[in-house]
Symmetry: C2
Subunit: 409 residues, 2 copies
């Protein structure tokens, strides 16, 4: 079961003026399952996004990047589950193009104004006829108050839908930020497709929107995955509908930009954490905080060595304070001049290791107490600089193996 992850009620998800969402069941992989989502944008909307760096990036990712680069106003995003359309070569590109042109025909725009996204099994041909046949129902379903169903429609192995809304007052105007995400393969989160869509009714200039989506990704989805080490389909999109009664935010040094950026980042971080909480087989939610590094990058390097270690993750699953495994992970993180004698390791508020070994004050029962909790903070002080980084991960259970061994059956 997901770790401390509340299912949002439809009422908690605030509509974003100028953004409507339509859902359909196209039978792409399974009948009767919501597997198609159209996000339609109003005329004033702007879009920015970050995408996977995987060299085998999926056909829809190639197309979405190309269409964004065309510079025409984006009219709709089209998301399907059940098939990733990745590792499918030129044929996959042709199929993705057809989904765009068919939706464009129905919305009265050009194919380049549609951004496609797919998630599901890799290296199978996209059943494009089924997808296209489902489009009219999705278009007929378009409405602003549809975020909850949209969150459900993009789920794959997710147990719970992930959606967050927040309001922030900027220059006296209440601005809405609502987002949805999917993804749950967590032992190497980079390998399970994560999709995230966050929308605001504020107006934001394109350059500021590009900067905002990168900032938000770096402090949310990129804290549970590794740049350059992502799935074939990962995408995170930020939409500004421009419908709020507020001047366009264009200056990244302005207070308005910072206020909106922080709200967007908080929504993205909650969505990213929801993905970890719903991690495949997860029973625990771990925050890995690394402090006192020379750079944020090296703090992330140490954090990921801990967060990716199957030995650490199985120890957390077992509630076993086998903390030597964390020290071993720090030691092989790849920092050549790391002085292990300077490192302090904390489990929750318990000092575990210092001076290259176990702290004299450490008692096994203190470690065991923290390990029994559902949310655990692992904190590492490197004591060699002032940079820090925070990552989120989950433990590693029998159910992870079961879910991934049975995924296609």
């Amino acid at each position: 079961m997901p770790v401390n992850l509340a299912i949002p009620t439809p009422e908690q998800l605030l509509p974003v003026k100028g953004i409507s969402l339509g859902i359909a069941s196209a039978g792409i992989k399974k009948a009767e399952r919501k597997d198609l989502l159209v996000i339609k944008l109003g005329d004033k909307a702007k879009v920015a996004g970050v995408f996977t760096l995987n060299r085998f990036c999926a056909a829809p990712v190639i197309l979405a990047k190309a269409h964004l680069a065309c510079g025409q106003p984006i009219k709709a995003l089209l998301v399907n589950t059940g098939n990733a359309n990745a590792g499918t070569g030129d044929d996959g590109l042709a199929r993705a193009r057809r989904t765009c042109s068919e939706l464009a025909a129905q919305l009265g725009c050009s194919a380049e104004q549609i951004l496609p996204y797919s998630t599901g099994v890799i290296m199978e041909p996209l059943p494009v006829d089924k997808l296209v046949a489902g489009l009219p129902a999705a278009v007929a379903d378009l409405k602003e108050n549809n975020w909850f169903d949209a969150a459900q429609a993009i789920m794959t192995t997710d147990i719970q839908p992930k959606a967050v809304s927040k309001q922030v007052v900027i220059d006296g105007v209440s601005v809405t930020v609502t987002g949805i995400a999917k993804g749950s393969g967590m032992i190497h989160p980079n390998m399970a497709t994560m999709l995230g869509y966050v929308a605001t009714d504020a107006a934001v200039g394109q350059a500021a929107l590009d900067a905002m989506v990168r900032h938000a990704a770096d402090h949310s989805f990129n804290c549970i995955t590794v740049d350059g080490d992502t799935s074939t389909n990962d995408s995170f999109m930020l939409i500004a509908s421009g419908e709020a009664a507020l001047a366009e935010i264009g200056d990244v040094a302005s207070a308005q930009y910072t206020a909106l950026r922080d709200a967007v980042t908080e929504v993205a971080a909650q969505l990213a954490q929801a993905i970890v909480r719903d991690g495949e087989g997860a029973t625990k939610f771990m925050t890995i905080r690394v402090e006192g590094g020379i750079s944020r990058e090296e703090c992330r390097q140490v954090g990921y060595a801990i967060a990716h270690s199957p030995l650490v993750k199985t120890a957390f699953f077992a509630s076993d304070p086998n903390l030597g495994r964390i020290l071993a992970a720090i030691g092989y993180a790849g920092i050549a001049d790391l002085d292990v004698a300077k490192i302090r390791l904390y489990l929750g508020d318990v000092l575990v290791a210092e001076n290259g070994g176990r702290s004299p004050a450490y008692r096994e029962e203190d470690g065991a107490r923290v390990m029994k909790e559902a949310e655990i903070l692992v904190r590492v002080e490197l004591n060699r600089g002032v940079a820090d980084a925070t990552l989120w991960t989950c433990d590693f259970s029998y159910d992870y193996v079961r879910i991934n061994a049975e995924y296609r059956s």
Copy 2:
């Protein structure tokens, strides 16, 4: 159960003249278990070794490297299981020193002539009194024909002992190479301690022996683990007793060197493969071969991306030809200019992917047939150079989680 791993009979393990081995049960972690091994070397013996690059390297690793650097003739190696003496700071170093001085007193040499090795749980104080109390029994047990018991004495979560013997004729003289190894944590092999000890009765000059141990490691133990990404205790030692009726091998360009090096490397490779076959929870043995790379390093990089992927490993466990997961791993291996359209992926003799997607000739039943086998070859042609690399790994099962969740209990 281990994958196609035969237990050697004691008779198959040839003694190496000048090398005697003694075993004892010191009760370091569990009573009645063989957990102490002394390998005593004759006067003509030379030793070379490679060690973990982990920054949290264990106290015995620090000492063994320091003692080797002293340049005095090594008289004995001392191995204990049940406790890794890693992450134990200055106190751990003092305990490791005491084990050396106590054994040295019994053998009539200096502490610097003893090399210590430990494997087991991390960050617990080494019960040095128990270890020292067990030394007389191990010394009393010293005999040349004791390799089988030695292989058993160094096991931790290993299901089967790992030992290999081989003879090679050099200049008309039959030279013996016998080795033992332990280790079985395989999903990130780098995190489970691997110990390997290979001995030959040939005489080898120190520089040649140093080169030989590096070559053998690079083509055996380093093909199942990552340099710089190793456990706190990994060690691989090569001993040349110098008792064979053969001139000392000193020239690395000589035919004699090559013949012995290849025999040593073959023994080391069989031991390394045995570790994979006995991988924690392993049900399948996979050979990952990457060809046509620009450098051996980039081939290894691609190979490790595949070999480390939990999604790939669980698919092999399930005998599910979910080959897109392999393509995804190749894609995120970190080779920025990789042209995915040039890659060919084979599963056994079956061409799976080409031109950036599934091969038109591929049929799911062909992939399923290969996936059902206990030994599977994954072959990747990068088609951008002439370098290649071969790695060995195993699948990822429920039992891996069980073993590592319960390790300390």
